[in-house]
């Protein structure tokens, strides 16, 4: 069973959330639904950093390394001098590595977000039962109460 508390305003919603947390309801059994991000909920429920940053970091580093590896591999696979430049022209390859760092980092961040939020949620997509509401809502899974 799920207890549901619904509020029109942020203040009352935060007061109730604070009350629930202080009354000893396990944080993991509490979920909130808000019409915009309410940063105070993070303070109350879960202060840990979002893991999106790991996806982003790994993606950015992978993109950068791939940019250098790819350009250096291509010039070494057929070492043709153009414009009197060095075969491994690191300065020029920085541009490619830089752009790939941003591209792969950005896409990895998006992929990480989808993975962590389990989106898209296909059973919700066409259903009207669960909607992004105007209200500030708190749900508590009663079975898990201590």
């Amino acid at each position: 069973m799920i207890d549901r508390y619904s509020f029109d305003a942020k203040g009352a919603f935060l007061d109730k959330l604070d009350e629930l947390v202080k009354s000893g309801v396990p944080r993991k059994s509490i979920n909130t639904f808000t019409p915009y991000p309410v940063h105070e909920t993070e303070e109350l429920l879960d202060r840990s950093q979002s893991a999106v940053r790991f996806f982003t970091g790994v993606g950015a580093v992978a993109g950068c390394v791939a940019g250098f590896a790819f350009t250096i591999y291509t010039v070494l696979s057929w070492p043709l001098i153009t414009g009197g430049k060095e075969i491994v022209s690191v300065n020029a390859f920085i541009v490619i590595a830089y752009e790939l760092m941003i591209l792969v980092g950005g896409l990895a961040a998006f992929a990480g977000f989808l993975f962590l939020t389990r989106l898209p949620v296909f059973r919700n997509i066409l259903s009207d039962s669960v909607e992004f509401s105007r209200k500030f809502e708190i749900t508590v899974e009663r079975g898990e109460r201590s």
Binding site: D8, A9, A12, N31, T32, F33, T34, P35, Y36, P37, V38, H39, T41, E42, L45, D46, Q49, S50, A51, V52, R53, F70, T71, T74, V75, S77, W78, L80, T82, S89, A92, V95, I96, Y98, E99, L100, I102, L103, G105, G106, L107, A109, F110, G112, F113, L114, L116, T117, L119, P120, V121, R123, N124, I125, L126, V130, E131, F132, S133, R134
Partner: protein, 437 residues
């Protein structure tokens, strides 16, 4: 907002009024859209003609091999930049006025990059060989030349397009979930699918905030890098007037300047068309006008430095090129550019003019023209007069080039008009958040 009830009413009103803009369009909308699509179709026909007959139908020849097509490319990439600036940079600086413009600016970025991307293809002539630019080895296993700025461009512009499109889409996910509530039938299914099942839960917002922050943080260096790389298409050569270290910051400042002007050009009529006077206010326009004034001063400073660098270069060719710009065949375009980009925006020093929306709209058109002229002057004058008087020549755009340039505006405005009816043009979620603070 004072009482809780007022806030609730405001939330409801924002949703209804912003999404009302997506209702069935009026006749004026259809006429404008058809006009823009007609222009774009005309451009397609002209391009087809050029493909059939060859590049001889354009005015491009020796010594000027880069003309209006490359001018248009640089112009449209520049237009794209302000979108990212308004959206990502102002987000990182927590500027609250951003909320009124960011969605239109992001859409503008995506459509402007799409328009810009067409011009290297049009300029190629043998467009069916465009895939030679993609990084894969040819039959003799030779790869593309990664030392070439043109190759950097391929990576920079495609990265810019991808990240801008992701940023635009991600920013819209919560609003698409709101739009879903208001729609029926096929449209409801479409917005439902696009909103991915967003419900605004704690976990969704937590990761979403981080994602948005990272995308903004990635998009910001892109603003700087993409137009720097476009400038290096020129600056990496040894041509007088192009081979200068100021090009990267000069181009970035110019890009933000022109893009800000285009935001005003687009948002003034859109605000009326969609009925958003309540949400995009004169205060917002004044803030944007300040960015326009600031970037105009940066661009003017760059014009001065450019001449200074030539004067102190000790190179007769550099001095000759800049004197040619000032007094040569294209002098009227150069003076026109100075008038539009450096003189007219000074009126924004007066607060009354910054808060006069029709005046801002007119001024933005001047800046658009001025920035197009700037790119034309930079590209053409340096090629028309290089080192050897034997190879000097004059370039005049032919009608086909003018037609394709005009068509690019048709394509861009058509895409923007479709956007105004297909998606929420103002960030509803963000407006609610700002109102509750």
């Amino acid at each position: 907002m004072s009482s809780a009830e007022e806030k609730v009413q405001y939330h409801r009103l924002v949703e209804e009024e912003v999404l009302a803009g997506m209702r069935k369009p009026r006749r004026a909308y259809w006429v404008t859209l058809l006009g823009c699509l007609g222009l774009a179709a005309l451009g397609a026909v002209l391009w087809g003609y050029q493909i059939k007959k060859g590049m001889g139908v354009s005015g491009l020849n020796n010594p000027v091999g880069w003309g209006t097509y490359i001018t248009n490319f640089v112009f449209w990439v520049g237009i794209a930049h302000s979108g990212t600036l308004i959206s990502a940079v102002l987000f990182l600086f927590r500027a609250k006025f951003r909320g009124a413009f960011n969605r239109s600016a992001e859409a503008m970025t995506v459509f402007a990059v799409m328009t810009a991307g067409l011009f290297p293809l049009i300029h190629l002539g043998r467009v069916w060989h465009f895939y030679w630019l993609l990084p894969y080895p040819n039959q003799r296993l030779l790869w593309v030349n990664f030392r070439s700025p043109l190759m950097w461009d391929v990576f920079a512009v495609s990265t810019y397009f991808t990240i801008s499109a992701v940023f635009f889409y991600v920013g819209m996910i919560p609003d698409l979930a709101i739009a879903k509530r208001f729609e029926k039938g096929m449209r409801k299914r479409l917005y439902s699918a696009l909103s991915l099942g967003w419900v605004g839960s704690f976990r969704q917002w937590k990761h979403y905030n981080k994602l948005y922050l990272f995308l903004a943080a990635f998009a910001t260096p892109l603003v700087v890098s993409v137009h720097s790389i476009v400038s290096w298409d020129f600056a990496m050569s040894i041509l007088p007037g192009w081979h200068t270290t100021i090009f990267a910051p000069y181009f970035v400042a110019g890009a933000i300047f022109s893009g800000t002007a285009m935001v005003i050009t687009l948002v003034v009529p859109m605000r009326k068309l969609v009925g958003l006077e309540r949400y995009i206010t004169i205060d917002h326009f004044e803030s944007i006008a300040k960015i326009l004034l600031f970037t105009s001063l940066l661009v003017t400073y760059s014009y001065i430095v450019e001449f200074g660098l030539a004067a102190y270069s000790g190179s007769v060719y550099e001095k000759g090129t800049f004197l040619y710009r000032l007094t040569g065949d294209y002098r009227y375009l150069y003076w026109g550019m100075l008038f539009c980009n450096s003189i007219v925006p000074l009126t924004l020093l007066v607060r009354r003019w910054r808060r006069n929306i029709p005046f801002l709209f007119g001024l933005s058109i001047f800046v658009n023209i001025g920035m197009w002229l700037e790119r034309f002057v930079i590209i053409v004058t340096s090629m028309a007069r290089d080192f050897d008087p034997y190879s000097w020549g004059i370039y005049r755009p032919r009608l086909i080039e003018a037609g394709i340039a005009l068509a690019s505006f048709g394509f861009f405005f058509a895409a923007f008009l479709i956007f105004t009816k297909a998606f929420p043009v103002v960030a509803v979620t963000e407006l609610k958040e700002v109102a509750d603070e």
